[in-house]
């Protein structure tokens, strides 16, 4: 038989009936009453007595209630009505147990909240597509040489890429710098990105306003600029007519040709968390740069052509690299081991954080699992306590399915409320994590509670509700009905439930061990990381960045004397111990390397020349940064442009190139024709961990700022990070420093004023976030596991109150009873810990790449976790057992 009404219409009618349920009941009552009256009237008309007519009418009708019930079923709303009844009943039953309900809702809410907020972060950081068009087609070029896996690109290499990229859709290269924006407002220091014309097409993003610069504009180094969205909004109030206007950078006028969309960010900027303000043409003139294959300072990217696979792209790049090695043996000696490959942009940007984020989400889910296990164990206890109620209902003819459904409805209702609580916890958790502000996680700031997050919250709560409700519900068995009724709600629990509860506690200890081992390992790892000697003393140092413009300081000597003047005047400020400057800020801006030729040595055929990461520094820098001079001396003011070239090398450089020799007094010539050319080693300093705290320091060398001249244009280093070592609070010097520079040059902005310790702290913020969150999770896990163990011991002991009382009455000592009760449950704890440790050893290996200076099977951590969890379980068990044993035997027996 087909049903003529469409399903939606039918459901709609049923829904109306449900909402108008009372009206429907009234209608049915009235209808049947009318029927009976009419029939009665008919029979009376035929001559029956009033009494007989009523009797006959009822008889002919049949059982009124039975037909009503069948009529209700026929209405098609039966299931929903039952559900509504169940939910109302469940709500009443939960209100009767406020403690259980609130413990369940709170624990589960925390677990759900933690998971949902972490999901929000994973979603924002890892799952959302990168802000590039067809981002999967974008590859980052990796040049490997001299042991660097991810080296930069030099100008001649860039020209070769531009010429020889057949089959690729686009190629672009870029580097970073800064510019002073001058105009009506205060001079503003901008972070500038210098892009080749291929960068925008390679990333697949167009300006929202105006246009990008053309190939001609880029190669002729035209004075054109593309603004970032934020610069456009903040400085130019988002006026659309900015396109076509001129702006002044330094003392040059640039025509604004376009504005980028708000989502646009150069890949490196996304990692640094600081987007560039303005995009300018790279403008490398082959006439100036041809033949320069040694100064690597650009990042490169390609967009794959149609139908090209990542491995094909890699192959083409590798072939290009091999061609260069063959064509330019002097630039690429065999020992340099030069290779080109590529990496998907998503792997480059998110590869590092991926494991961190998944680890955190995993930990949050484990906490949720713990919460659910605890709740399940509570629910089992609840079923035990109420088994008389269930037995009575079964005895009165309720189907087992209905009772099971009732228990499930209760747990689902609790889980649903917990889901709502979880959403609020997630909101707070998101704020907390954003407040921790880990800067090296790209796009973290975009995280929030989305619709997906809310959906995940309810999905998790539904799953949790089912997970912790199903076992207790199914443990209700009609078979034990008579026994339960006879015992009158006393005596033993069902064996199934007790076994289930034991399994749950063991499971909780397994999960608890995992979470605690994770937290322990990452805490140890973080301690190791922060106790690493970076080679400088970060406390009580203020740093600031200046850039000496060529417009007003055209000659290198002008730059040197200005920087020296700033340092001299700063050192004279009250509260300043020392003042110096370097080119690249440690733990913030990576160094490049420079080759050199040691006098009196010949480089064997096929080996590359010695090289070291280079840094320029002023005479005051060692004292300001707190470098340790191991041998010889640091620079002095006398090491100026007129004096003989000097160099200070790091320990690692000395060991690498002068093993077992005294490098002091050794002379070498800087590569690429960099000034001062020939330098003499005057000192050796302790290694500085410049890139990050994790990695072993690279070989380094320091050349006096006053002597160094660039190999490209003979210029001095114009960007300088000032270091001021202070007696008191370093930030107190921020104002005086700004005032001093303004006095010397009102047009010169002072940027990035912050303490060296905050720079150091920021460099370890990702491991710190990981550690902090894991510790919060492990604390939650510890509390949950403790509650779990206390609960089960207390419950099983409680069930044996009578036995305990009898034994106590017969003269058993309390300690004996307690230890016997305890022993049985502690075996479970032991088993849980054992399995947990085994699982932790396997899982820890998976995250070992995130650990620093600590083995995944660190005995201290493992022993600590076993002691903590075992101790907590023992304490919980003892408390519960003692409470049971302390009850007055007479009282306990009388209560029977």
């Amino acid at each position: 038989m087909h049903s003529p009404l469409h399903l939606p219409q039918r459901l709609l009618r049923r829904a109306t009936l449900l909402f108008g349920k009372q009206a429907a009941e009234r209608d049915m009552d009235g209808e049947i009453r009318h029927h009976l009256e009419m029939e009665e009237q008919l029979l009376r008309d035929r001559g029956l007595s009033a009494h007989e007519a009523r009797r006959q009418a009822r008889l002919k009708f049949g059982g009124v209630e039975r037909f009503k019930e069948r009529a209700r079923e026929a209405r098609g709303t039966r299931l929903a009505e039952d559900l509504a009844k169940d939910v109302r009943f469940a709500a009443r039953s939960l209100r009767k147990r406020p403690l259980l309900t609130s413990v369940v809702v709170a624990t589960l809410g925390l677990g759900i909240g933690a998971s949902v907020s972490l999901f929000g972060f994973v979603d924002a950081v890892l799952l959302q597509p990168l802000p590039y068009g067809d981002a999967h087609e974008v590859l980052r070029i990796k040049q490997a040489y001299n042991g660097k896996a991810d080296g930069n690109i030099s100008p001649s290499e860039h020209f070769d890429y531009e010429r020889g990229m057949d089959g690729f859709a686009a190629y672009g290269a870029y580097t970073f710098g800064s510019a002073s924006l001058v105009g009506d407002a205060d001079p503003q220091r901008l972070q500038a990105a210098y892009l080749s014309h291929g960068v925008f097409p390679a990333l697949g993003i167009r300006p929202v306003l105006g246009r990008a610069f053309t190939r001609e504009e880029e190669t002729t180094n035209a004075m054109v600029a593309v603004l970032s969205h934020s610069l456009w909004l903040n400085r130019y109030a988002g006026q659309p007519d900015i396109v076509g206007q001129d702006i002044t950078l330094g003392e040059m006028k640039f025509a604004v040709v376009g504005v980028m969309p708000a989502s646009f960010v150069i890949p490196e900027d996304m990692l640094a968390g600081v987007p560039s303000d303005i995009y300018l043409p790279l403008g490398l003139d082959p006439a100036d740069w041809a033949g320069n294959r040694g100064s690597h300072f650009m990042s490169g990217l390609v967009r794959m052509g149609p139908g090209m696979s990542a491995s094909q792209a890699n192959q083409r790049l590798a072939t290009l690299g091999n061609q260069w090695v063959e064509a330019y043996p002097d630039d690429y000696p065999a020992g340099m081991d030069f290779q080109i490959s590529s990496q998907p942009m998503s792997a480059y940007l998110l590869g590092n954080v991926r494991r961190t984020m998944w680890t955190l989400l995993g930990a949050a889910l484990l906490v949720l699992l713990l919460a659910a296990a605890n709740v399940s164990s509570l629910m089992l206890g609840m079923v035990d306590d109420r088994r008389r109620e269930f037995s009575v209902r079964l005895a009165l003819g309720a189907e087992r399915g209905r009772v099971v459904r009732q228990v499930l409805t209760e747990s689902l209702l609790m889980a649903l409320v917990a889901g709502v609580v979880g959403i609020f916890v997630a909101l707070a958790g998101t704020k907390l994590l954003l407040a921790l502000d880990p800067p090296n996680i790209p796009r973290l700031e975009t995280a929030g509670l989305s619709i997906t997050g809310v959906a995940v919250a309810f999905l998790l709560s539904g799953l949790a509700g089912l997970a912790f409700g199903i076992a207790p519900a199914l443990s209700i068995s009609a078979k034990r009905l008579s026994a339960d009724l006879k015992e009158g709600g006393r005596g033993n629990t069902s064996g199934t439930r007790q076994r289930l509860r034991r399994a749950l506690v063991a499971g909780e200890l397994v999960v608890g061990t995992l979470v605690l081992v994770g937290a322990g390992l990452f805490t140890r790892s973080f301690q190791q990381l922060t106790s690493v000697d970076p080679g400088f003393r970060a406390e009580q140092v203020l740093t600031a960045r200046i850039n000496v413009p060529s417009s007003r300081y055209p000659n290198p000597e002008d730059v040197v004397s200005f920087v020296n003047l700033v340092n001299e005047r700063t050192a004279a400020l009250p509260g300043v111990v020392a003042s110096g400057a370097i080119k690249n800020l440690p733990l913030a801006v990576p160094l490049g390397d420079l080759n050199f030729r040691i006098e009196g040595r010949v480089i064997p055929e096929g080996e590359s020349s010695p090289r070291a990461d280079w840094q320029t520094a002023t005479s005051g820098y060692a004292a300001a940064a707190g470098l340790t001079v191991l041998q010889g001396r640091w620079f002095e003011d006398a090491d100026n442009a007129d004096a003989e070239g000097a160099v200070v090398i790091s320990e690692a450089t000395a060991e690498l190139y002068w093993p077992g020799e005294d490098p002091l007094g050794a002379r070498f010539v800087l590569g690429g024709g960099a000034g001062p050319g020939s330098v003499t080693v005057v000192g050796i300093v302790r290694d500085v961990r410049h890139e990050n705290l994790e990695n072993e320091p690279m070989p380094q060398m320091y050349i006096p700022h006053s002597q160094f001249r660039s190999w490209t244009d003979g210029d001095a280093m114009r960007g300088q990070s000032i270091f001021i070592r202070t007696q008191g609070d370093p930030l107190a010097l921020a104002g005086p420093l700004r005032a001093l520079v303004r006095e010397l040059d009102p047009m010169l902005p002072v940027a990035q004023v912050e303490t060296l310790s905050s720079i150091r702290d920021r460099s370890v913020s990702q491991p710190r976030t990981l550690m902090t969150l894991l510790n919060i999770f492990s604390l939650l896990g510890l509390v949950l596991a403790a509650i779990g163990v206390y609960g089960i011991v207390g419950h099983s002991v409680g069930l044996r109150t009578r036995e305990v009382a009898v034994r106590r009455a017969l003269g058993a000592r309390k300690i004996q009873v307690v230890s016997e009760l305890l022993w049985k449950e502690l075996r479970i704890v032991g088993a849980g810990l054992f399995i947990g440790l085994a699982a932790a050893l396997i899982l820890a290996r998976a995250v070992s790449g995130l650990l620093f200076g600590v083995a995944p099977n660190d005995p201290l951590v493992l022993a600590g976790v076993v002691a903590t969890l075992g101790g907590i379980a023992f304490l919980g068990g003892t408390l519960a057992a003692r409470r049971a044993a302390t009850i007055d035997p007479a009282l306990a027996l009388r209560a029977e």
Partner: protein, 110 residues
């Protein structure tokens, strides 16, 4: 009540209700009375079982119930045959005719 009897009645009861309502809207008791009269008392059913049948037919959309006034001037629910109910009646009637003809054929065969 014997199970076989309800099963037999269910389908035929639906058919009779639909047929009865074809002559115009009626309330519950009138439908019951009309069926008794037209079957000349042969089909004596429990009057109560009419109501589940009415609700089932309503849920299927073959009849609709609306509030109305009975010939006696009382407020009652009046049932009316819908268009799809009319089609259903035709279909079921055809089935019934074919079915009863077949049964007759078997019974009269010698």
């Amino acid at each position: 009540m014997a199970k076989g009897k309800t099963d037999l009645l269910q389908g035929t009861l639906d058919l009779m209700v639909l047929k009865t309502l074809r002559q115009g809207p009626l309330h519950g008791w009138s439908i019951s009375k009309r069926i008794r009269e037209t079957s000349q008392g042969v089909l004596e059913i429990r009057q109560g079982s009419l109501y589940p049948a009415l609700y089932r037919l309503e849920d299927k959309g073959w009849i609709t119930g609306e509030r109305g006034v009975s010939p006696e001037g009382r407020k009652v629910k009046l049932y009316r045959l819908t268009r799809s109910g009319g089609k259903q009646l035709a279909a079921e009637r055809a089935t019934w005719v074919a079915f009863s003809a077949a049964v007759n054929h078997v019974l009269e065969a010698t």
